[in-house]
Symmetry: C2
Subunit: 416 residues, 2 copies
């Protein structure tokens, strides 16, 4: 992830504070004594840290635990209005802006159609204008706004803060989104690829449900992935970990932008599924579903195809299941490689296909792997849903700001 | 990894000591001032820690740096004889025992043929006897022997310290290798699957050359993998991360033990390659290479096939390249998923095939991936070579004992 800028809001200093705030956020309402147990810190340290978090307005005292004989314990909860972040998600021909609070709720959101997809500066200005208006309409204290996270289709150059010829943003070369948004928004900005941002958002919003490790399969304009291992997102050596779309599957006649015909991505793209309806089920099926097949109708066709799949149209169901089985093949390999016990499906492209995708991917990863004799893999839909990219973008800021040291919580088994 | 037992040798206490020892081991000879720069610790802390490491006999003063005007700096090096570990590698019909010192050198080693492969207790006794004899013949101070690491074909149940019906140890069900070796050897024992042990060994022995992240493709009796991310080995939720053999490739007629015909493993096994010579190149080619084709001649046939491939026999070269290309397909997906910039090839099965494997896997991972436009992937052979499993097993003990906190050295980029 690339990031820039500073903020006036007091940063939570150091490891202990990040750990305590995260524990309150994920487990709250929670008492100081429980926090000491959860974090391994002393009662005195927890008290000191909690005092600072109260002073900073990031947590609040929210009642008392039932008495267990002695003094009733005061409970602590995160203050939703303690901090906010903007999340901006760019995709092929549309974008989305959300405002997310410290509790992970989306306070406001707005989609926008991209009017000049091929011109990065116009897209950035349109997104920034939408973000400024969205924030302006809320009553959020500007001093509590930490910054804006940007989620864009990869690949990205994390060090430079640039996207690098993303296949899903046609006509873009190297575009320094980080500095462009920093200038346009005049606030701290962070950038990551959409699938990784979604995985960070899932970890941030999902709390205990997303503790540990998972593979996030992200379906936006294309197939991507994000990887969380031991509560830590995997960025990778070039900032592009999780490029799930290049996993090998049975080869066919669809070429990937990378030149291979063995990548799972192109067989599962919106365009591929729409074309499959025409090729495998004919004009009548396409007409029944309401598909135009024209390039400029891609977004509308894709929505109709997913709606048709959800209501059980046999042609839509069949092509979606074919794609889901290919994703399952790739997911099976990824799960064996990473040894994660959870796969999470999300992104706007999953909408309508959740049941089909869960069924087929579950069958693939749990059907026949010997490692799974030890433990089955849970296949679930995102706790965020189809705004995973935008909410994940906001989580880049919240997570980066308030949970920077969480990776240190994990431990490694060593000879005793 | 599962581990048991204790040792009388003073354990390096805490994070700072592990960091300083690892820096001396990897960068030595090195001065105290350089150590402070490398580790971020204060000069005073480094001096205190070094004093304790000198007292424990783990490092030594090894001369002086050239004067740069002021006082000449004393240089520190690891003491090879400061600590030792036994490494035991079990494979289908053979095993290997090594004794490795703190500097990573193999002091002694011995192979043994497994006389009763189907009987775990006989195999353990045979391996333990070999290990005791090997140690007995050296002049190693028993007080400096930290323990024995066991590398076995997976899957393993890391928590229980058991292998679980490993496909490459025919007839074995759940076998509690950890406790069996602990009893047989009467010293601390650690257990991991062979490919992960090899990756840990590569990180331990390779030092700076293996800093950061890499995928280790391990070729023993079958294809496995080990993953090191940000200097930390990935164990996975069940202790079986890196199961590279289940990555999907173009399906054919070879069934994996997991039931799928899409796993790369069975297409690249010794048996598969030998059979391919007969099927694709005929009896004459098999005779030229010296292949018997009989089940009981598998080990000898496999050696002859690899020797023939090394000397350029066209049939051997062709079947090896076919397998290497399939491994390349799988590696391409794994590299995209993990975003590692290095792939390391090792294990006894790679011996003779190094050039072919490097060429074909390099072509696959660097040929056409768009992410690689950012940075090419280095494909290299193991710094350990064909004893990677056994040396890796010893590294389980050395690494676990002397580098327990190293994962903490990594940092995550966060908004500034």
């Amino acid at each position: 992830m690339a990031a820039t800028g500073g903020t006036n809001l007091p940063r939570v200093g150091g490891y202990n504070q990040a750990v305590v705030l995260d524990a309150i956020r994920v487990r709250g309402p929670v008492s100081r004594v429980e926090l000491a147990e959860l974090t391994g810190l002393t009662n005195q340290t927890v008290s000191n840290v909690v005092r600072r978090l109260l002073d900073a307005g990031l947590v609040s005292e929210s009642g008392h635990a039932p008495s267990s004989g002695g003094k009733r314990r005061t409970l602590l909860s995160p203050r939703a209005d303690g901090a906010y972040a903007v999340g901006i998600h760019l995709d092929r021909d549309a974008g989305q802006v959300v405002l997310v609070d410290l509790a992970g709720s989306t306070v406001a959101g707005r989609r926008f159609a991209v009017s000049a997809p091929g011109e990065p500066s116009a897209v950035v200005e349109q997104a920034a204008r939408t973000a400024r208006r969205l924030v302006g309409r809320t009553e959020v204290d500007p001093a509590r706004l930490l910054g804006a996270g940007i989620a864009a289709p990869g690949p990205i150059d994390g060090t430079a803060g640039e996207v690098v010829s993303p296949p899903n943003l046609s006509g873009w070369g190297r575009v320094p989104l980080l500095s462009m948004f920093g200038t346009a928004l005049d606030m701290p900005v962070a950038l990551d690829n959409d699938a990784t941002a979604a995985a960070i958002g899932e970890r941030w919003i999902g709390g205990q449900k997303r503790a540990g490790s998972f593979l996030f399969i992200y379906f936006g304009a294309g197939i991507g992935g994000g990887i969380v291992l031991n509560d830590t997102v995997l960025h990778g050596d070039s900032g592009n970990a999780g490029e799930f779309g290049h996993m090998a599957v049975e080869p066919g006649d669809r070429l990937c932008s990378c030149g291979s015909n063995r990548c799972v991505g192109p067989y599962c793209s919106p365009r591929a599924l729409i074309e499959e309806v025409f090729h495998r089920h004919g004009e009548a099926a396409a007409e029944r579903i309401g598909l135009s097949g024209a390039a400029e109708a891609l977004t509308e066709d894709w929505k109709r195809l997913r709606r048709a799949a959800r209501r059980g149209d046999p042609a839509a169901d069949e092509v979606a299941r074919r794609a889901a089985r290919l994703l399952g093949q790739a997911a099976r390999g990824a799960v064996a490689l990473l040894d994660v016990s959870r796969v999470v499906l999300g992104g706007e492209g999953m909408r309508g296909l959740e049941t089909i995708m869960c069924e087929e991917i579950d069958a693939a990863v749990n059907g026949n792997s010997i490692a799974r004799a030890l433990d089955s893999v849970s296949v679930e839909t995102s706790v965020i849903g189809d705004t995973a990219g935008a909410v994940g973008a906001a989580a880049l800021i919240l997570h980066g700001h308030y949970a920077p040291g969480l990776r240190l919580l994990t431990t490694e088994s060593t000879p005793a």
